[in-house]
Symmetry: C3
């Protein structure tokens, strides 16, 4: 598919500087784009690639217009512009409707005629698959499940009994929704498993990354609200509630019964303890450990950045008895 | 299934305060339970929900009896009481025995007549599946494996050649048991793979969470003893040995050849280095890094809790040269 | 298979001390090896097992020769010796060629006649599977993929459309290659998905551990160079580039667009932020957070090792206002 720069400018609401008839077929990075491709500049780390770019046009902020050697589309948020151009140039491919002859569908399951069910998919009793849903090879869909319109389960996704997936969801390979939560009680030194009788309710427009797991509730449900975006290898415990439009980066772990607000951003490999409450609009930086509720919007962190190992070793040696350092300073001050 | 409060009190060994004939059908949280449901109070964070609960009865400690507006079952450990009521009200569902017509079973595999084998399961040569085992859709069971009585592999679980699963095990979707450990030797700047010829031996009553992986031994076996409970997204390296009744929360990583004792509790996202020994009854808090053996029972930690980012930045700046702070205090003290 | 000690010494290029005709059938650990088995000593933690070993022979450094009670093979790197003996004694098993009757292969896919395709594998259009490739049960291979000679996908591996796997690769169960990267742009408080139109290119001799995920590029490709070894549960974001012969331990997360050099070693559960550059020959210790580019070879760390919880609590209390401690010392010094 090809668009003129004028069509693209109008689509992403940018100010056009250059030839409106220039034809754009693809997107490329500033560094590697060639003729017929549009690029963008939003991260200042890449500004030095601008002057030598071979792209036909670049989406950028007004402040970079003068340094741009090619056609330009100016807007406040070039990254959003890039997103919208990418969605224009690379629309979703619609899969052929129909149930693969090598799928195993329970007689009571309701599969919409426009849905695509791939090979080696199994679908349990009383499960409802809505219009235009894509279920790729090897997915295991249990009993009593609903999958909403236009949702896509790419491959080898497991939905356990009773879970609900909203509309336009995207579940990447290896995702597991609705496995039992980690519910155990100690009985004289042995662990007793507690039946996990809640479910998982996932709203609309939720994307869930590869090999991420979201446990079913112990009692009541685990809830992921509309517009939440979750990266790969994330673990979400039972009865967690994630508010609308919160984004969670890779390798994050969220322990049971924690409630996270709307529009939060959780950095990679952060860990959040159980039974906490985190209000709306909280940003948690990568590798942060959250052990207490956060009641005020803002940015929080606790990660320790890398240093040369010989410095690190000396710092750790001091850190091991940091509290004594504090009391030594106390004493000195009293003198 | 419905039980009277009297039956429940007797089952969980609690002191009944209220109507013994009150009928209980379900369990609910203090906040959301309704008539016909029993609830429990064990975490003090939720005490404020007690006075307005709509549950028919609450399991609680003696100290909360006076504040309870409904029938009560008093015991020292209400969480254990809840666990036992849940097991009473929600017993395991027994799957229909038989091998699904769309499963692929090697001619030398022995499948007990009471076992359930789902669709798209493959089972290799000389593998033995015991009585009442449940193997859900998409599981891959290699050669020479044994799965003990009453164990359940939910879906898309992979057991590699030769691994042994005990009785009453539960393996959640995406679990991988017996993949090769990370055994490589450096040969002039290139890595040489070392064949991993040990196996994985998993005892009885072990539960393993979604997308968790346990590697086979390099030489000798990786061993998970009876009663161990492992949450989701956990990584256990080759030749690790986990002692009886140890519980491991989500996202933990345990490197090769480490030996962990009995009845340990390992918090979420903790990391444990290789070749260590951790004695019995050790508690490791969430996000702790364990770099040395632990030879004394007790509680250990190293996680840094979140703080506001502007404070964090200043602390990190000081931390980067913490050892100099220590020597500066030394000097001041000498004066 | 049995070899004489003389054959083994020659194979691993070691100096033989003892009976050249001694027959070796297996490898065992110093602690557990028995007659007919060879062992090795490379980690000093295990030196105390040497004097009582029941192995027929031990591979060790010259410095341990005098303490060795049995035949010895002396060399500078006994671990490399062990690796080479293991490869000699336990060669790869070659699977029977052919496509399983219960596999689903697109008519345009090209499967080499020597390849093994297991049950419940699906292979998409225009995909090319080279000679001697092993694709185990439940793997999902999309469209337009190439898998190079002698590569092995053990079970339930997912390759998304267009990815390229080199020769002699090993992909363990649950691996996901080429899922969409975490590309989202904020549009007035809602997240807009950005199509991920790059791919993943994996070189030769790459091993990838269980449940690891490597995302496809947003624009351009994610690239894993020859000889890279990746452990389990690792997350590699879109457009990451990993240089030749770099080794990455379990539970590591690498965020998007980061470039890692050759021959690096990344310890378990380390986290590396996005858009960074790490030069060749960098060692990053376990649980380190890398927030900035590393431009100098060397060893880097930031993990905090476990301490007793009561000490930890006091240290954290001081750490929370560490910057004030620094300024208090400043003041004292000025007096």
């Amino acid at each position: 598919m090809t668009y003129t720069l004028w069509e693209i400018a109008r689509h992403i609401n940018a100010e056009l500087h250059g030839d409106p008839k220039c034809e754009i077929k693809n997107i490329g990075t500033l560094e590697h784009a060639t003729s017929g491709e549009i690029s963008f500049l939003s991260n200042n780390r890449y500004t030095h690639f601008l002057e030598s770019t071979k792209a036909s046009a670049v989406i950028l902020k007004a402040e970079h217009l003068d340094s741009c050697p090619v056609h330009a589309l100016v807007m406040d948020d070039p990254y959003l512009g890039y997103a919208n151009v990418a969605r224009l140039l690379y629309p979703d491919v619609i899969a052929e409707p129909g149930v693969h002859i090598k799928a195993d569908i329970h007689s009571t399951a309701e599969i919409h005629s426009t849905a695509h069910i791939g090979p080696y998919v199994s679908i349990g009793s009383n499960t409802k698959i809505a219009a235009n849903v894509y279920i790729g090879p090897g997915c295991v869909i249990g009993d009593g499940i609903t999958v909403g319109t236009n949702s896509r389960l790419i491959a080898n996704v497991v939905l356990c009994d009773g879970v609900e997936i909203g509309e336009r969801g995207i579940l990447h390979p290896g995702v597991v929704i609705g496995a039992d939560g980690f519910g155990i009680a100690n009985d004289n030194g042995k662990w007793l498993k507690i039946p996990q009788v809640g479910s998982v309710i996932i709203g609309n427009d939720v994307e869930i990354g590869a090999n991420t797991s979201i446990d079913r509730g112990a009692l009541g449900n685990t809830i992921i609200d509309d517009g939440v975006k979750i990266d790969n290898q994330v673990q979400i415990g039972h009865n967690v509630h994630i508010g609308e439009h919160t984004a969670i980066a890779g390798c994050v772990g969220i322990a049971g019964s924690t409630k996270i607000g709307k529009r939060c951003m959780i950095g990679g490999a952060a860990g959040i303890s159980g039974h906490l409450e985190i209000v709306d609009d909280v940003i948690i930086m990568a590798m942060t450990g959250v052990a207490n509720s956060i009641r005020k919007p803002g940015i929080y962190a606790s990660g320790v950045p890398a240093m040369e190992a010989k410095i690190w070793r000396k710092n750790i040696a001091t850190y091991r008895h940091l509290y004594t350092l504090s009391s030594r300073v106390n004493k000195l001050e009293k003198k």
